[in-house]
């Protein structure tokens, strides 16, 4: 009886359908389950945004079927202001938590991190399985709030206090709807903490022989850094949710101030702090932005390198930049609270690191751009979406410079400028990262190639459509268009309605373009061209194994790593690259020391 190795993480090949496809311990199946969940959530979130956009463009338009979903929220199919806010809350929550966090991090990370480090599985497969199923239950709990009498909460994905804690007197969904939201997010936190535990231990303990930390692919580094961020952020959000639930069900007063009168009724709480929630939430909330985007940075770098046929200018600096983004993300959260009445010196203290965080972000972009310069980039759906990611990251990031200044943010706060900013830099950029990852890794995951023509159509419609939607948001914000209004009756807002209509049309077309992607995904899964083991002539370990990988990833063999992850532009027996697991000696000027 003695200690056994970390590498001896083994589970036997499953035989029953339930163990193979439902309660599977296999990280690859869990990764696919996360992807399916994210896809379903994205489609729901997209339909919600369509409904909101139609209402914003044509306030009196009746939307077929909506009356059935909520007779009170949409009488005759026309949204009430409250129901608009409820849909907006669900759109934001579903997209941020169940799409932008689950797809690039939990889905791709689960599938490819163990393979990229050469492991057979994650070290704690049962925790991994629990991670997905807890997340899935969290999603069901959230969606179930659509079907309670007064619908889901209307407080936005930020769920600000005291609205989140005063109960049903705060409006439709502010009673049970908030409780369900908080339970859902607390469960989501548990799921992601279990996931982070596995990601961190996989990276640190299960790397195969020769796989030093600096030989990890950039995507693996991104998932590792993201899991460290998730560990810190979700373990703070969960207790915050617990305190809100106690305010609701146990009568405590953590967040509701004394003397609060609502609808001519004194709220029976005393002395709570509304800012307390903002501190706890944004300590999670800002790193969450990077939890969504850092996996994209890693995935996009990984894909671009394979298509440029040469490594980035500096892999090491890219890793340091992702690490710097992670660390700084905890020091900037107060910039979300510039208008909360905080001391101007505090504002300055949060403004400074917010500007500093643009340095690693800018360095990352410069490395991408200068690496691309002069390269003979292979144009395919994956590399196009990777380029689109960079474009969105830059376009959305530039507006962050403005919002980082307290004096400007006070003017732009709660306007469409902010909505445009975070949709581009966090939402669409991360989505483009997901698409790039899908087109790149789909052959490995399914054993079939995706249709490239449809992929390129999907890209151009999405790319142009996204700019048509979100660039005007910035204009609306500068014109003073406040967010979260469901109709625009003020004189100064009425001239902006044509802009909203333009955005609505663009959103409908861009949304429909996503159906091309869904069709391509499903059609290729069953009828796509069979994929070879290494269709992109890439170097990292996932391309060393069979397509799709066997249940133990490497078919009973264990790779040994001889090279840095991106040995392109060399002369080897297989072409202009040498795989990490190949013992072949090559000459190169790319390998970092």
């Amino acid at each position: 009886m003695h200690d056994t190795s970390a590498h001896a993480v083994q589970h036997h090949a499953p035989t029953s359908f339930i163990r193979k496809h439902v309660f599977s311990l296999d990280h690859k199946v869990i990764g696919k389950q996360y992807y399916a969940l994210a896809l379903a959530a994205a489609l729901i979130g997209m339909v919600l945004s369509w409904i909101m956009r139609i209402h914003l463009g044509w306030a009196n338009a009746a939307i077929p079927g909506l009356h059935t979903l909520s007779p009170n929220g949409a009488p005759g199919g026309v949204l009430t202001p409250e129901y608009y806010l409820q849909l907006m809350t669900m759109h934001g929550t579903i997209m941020v938590f169940f799409v932008l966090t689950t797809a690039p991090f939990a889905a791709f990370g689960n599938y490819f991190l163990p393979i990229q480090v050469g492991a057979e599985d994650m070290p704690f497969p049962r925790f991994n399985m629990m991670s997905f199923w807890v997340t899935f239950i969290a999603f069901l709990v959230l969606v179930s709030s659509f079907f309670i009498s007064d619908g889901p909460t209307l407080g936005g994905w930020t769920q600000y206090a005291p609205l989140n804690a005063i109960g049903s007197s705060g409006g439709p969904g502010q009673g049970l709807g908030v409780v369900l939201w908080m339970i859902s997010i607390a469960l989501f936190c548990i799921g992601q903490l279990l996931g982070s535990l596995n990601f961190i231990t996989t990276t640190l303990d299960l790397r195969v022989k020769g796989m030093s930390l600096m030989r990890l692919p950039l995507s693996a580094w991104a998932w590792f850094i993201t899991s460290c961020m998730g560990l810190t952020a979700f373990s703070v959000l969960m207790p915050a949710c617990i305190l809100v639930i106690l305010d609701h069900v146990a009568g405590t007063s953590f967040f509701v101030p004394s003397g609060l009168v609502l609808n001519d009724q004194l709220v029976p709480h005393s002395g709570g702090s509304t800012l307390l929630w903002q501190h706890l939430f944004w300590f999670f909330g800002h790193p969450e932005v990077y939890i969504a985007i850092v996996p994209g940075i890693g995935i996009v770098s990984h894909i671009l390198i394979a298509n440029m046929r040469k490594p980035m200018l500096s892999q090491r600096v890219l890793i340091y930049c992702m690490g710097a983004l992670a660390v700084l993300s905890y020091m900037v959260y107060g910039h979300h609270m510039f208008v909360s009445g905080m001391n101007p010196i505090s504002s300055l203290a949060f403004s400074f690191p917010t500007l500093v965080i643009t340095i690693p972000a800018t360095i990352t972009v410069l490395i991408w751009v200068f690496s691309l310069y002069g390269s003979r980039l292979r144009i395919n759906s994956a590399s196009l979406f990777a380029l689109g990611f960079i474009s969105m990251f830059v376009s959305g990031g530039v507006s962050g410079f403005f919002l980082a200044q307290p004096s400007i943010d006070i003017m732009l706060h709660a306007t469409y400028f902010v909505v445009g900013h975070f949709h581009m830099v966090m939402g669409v950029a991360a989505m483009f990262g997901i698409f790039a990852g899908t087109y790149f890794w789909f052959p490995k995951m399914s054993g079939r190639m995706m249709n490239e023509t449809l992929g390129k159509v999907h890209f151009w419609l999405s790319f142009v459509g996204t700019y048509c939607i979100f660039m005007p948001f910035h204009y609306l914000g500068l014109a003073g268009n406040i967010r979260r209004y469901s109709t625009f009756v003020d004189d100064f807002l009425q001239p902006l309605i044509p802009v909203h209509r333009w955005i609505t049309v663009a959103a409908l077309i861009t949304g429909a373009a996503q159906l091309v992607f869904v069709y391509n995904l499903i059609h290729s899964r069953f009828w796509g061209k069979p994929a070879p083991d290494n269709p992109w002539e890439a170097t990292s370990l996932e391309w060393s194994t069979a397509t799709p990988p066997p249940w133990d990833n490497f078919g009973g063999k264990h790779p040994v790593v001889y090279h840095d992850p991106y040995q392109y532009g060399v002369q080897s027996s297989v072409g202009d690259y040498v795989m990490q697991a190949s013992p072949e000696q090559v000459k190169t000027d790319h390998e970092e020391k």
């Binding site: 190795s5 231990t201 303990d205 030093s212 969960m238 953590f254 005393s270 709570g272």
Partner: protein
């Protein structure tokens, strides 16, 4: 143009780095013999326990900051005396850490095939288990005493935080008890890993430190 030439793969126990996993350079066996790699891989549970303890620390840090902000935000904070049984509970929890350490050393000797007679290696684990149960029961008595004084969860923010912190800690202690039961079962089946035992011990000792911190926090702030 600088040129890097890969050295031929080399194998040998002396070239295997003794830190972390993966190693550096090309010091890998050409035949892919994984047994060389397993010698220096840290067991995942050794890493995982620190990850878990970090997450728990962050959770209690969040509760602590909430307490500090909430106390400073209004004038409705009402102090009360901590139930004296908490100090007895503290001693019990500390005693359980001592007994667990006895157990850990005996089991380590047992695993190391030390020839001397070590007795039943699980005996001290059962003692630890009992002391843990006594601690949780003692905490329940403390909550009962406060209820008898009319201090409920929603009575005052001070009592709210008392219940939130102590109940959350007690739940984590129950998790630790589950860990000790797991260790006893594994020991009974002769399939216990040393790293599992060490991870359970670290978790339990951390519960001690965490409780000491909470007691100090409650004593100073309530």
């Amino acid at each position: 143009m600088a040129t890097t030439v890969h050295e031929p793969p080399q194998a040998g126990p002396r070239r295997v780095p003794d830190h972390g996993n993966g190693g550096g350079g090309n010091l890998v066996p050409a035949d892919g013999d994984r047994r060389l790699a397993v010698d220096y891989s840290p067991p995942p549970s050794s890493t995982a326990i620190w990850v878990v303890l970090f997450a728990i620390s962050m959770m209690f840090a969040a509760f602590t900051s909430a307490l500090v902000v909430r106390k400073g935000s209004s004038l409705d904070w009402r102090s009360f005396s901590l139930p004296s049984i908490l100090f007895f509970n503290t001693l019990v929890l500390f005693a359980s850490s001592v007994t667990l350490e006895f157990a850990r050393r005996r089991i380590a000797a047992f695993m190391g095939n030390v020839q001397e007679r070590v007795g039943s290696p699980s005996r001290w684990l059962y003692v630890t288990l009992c002391l843990g149960v006594v601690f949780v029961a003692g905490q329940y008595i403390a909550w009962s005493q406060l209820r008898a004084e009319g201090l409920y969860l929603a009575t005052n923010p001070s009592s709210s935080f008392f219940y939130v912190l102590t109940v959350t800690h007690a739940l984590h202690v129950l998790g630790g008890l589950g860990g000790i039961v797991y260790v006893i079962r594994k020991l009974g089946k002769s399939s216990l890993r040393r790293s599992t035992l060490d991870a359970a011990a670290r978790y339990w000792h951390f519960m001690d430190l965490l409780w000491l911190y909470l007691l100090l926090l409650l004593w100073v702030k309530l």
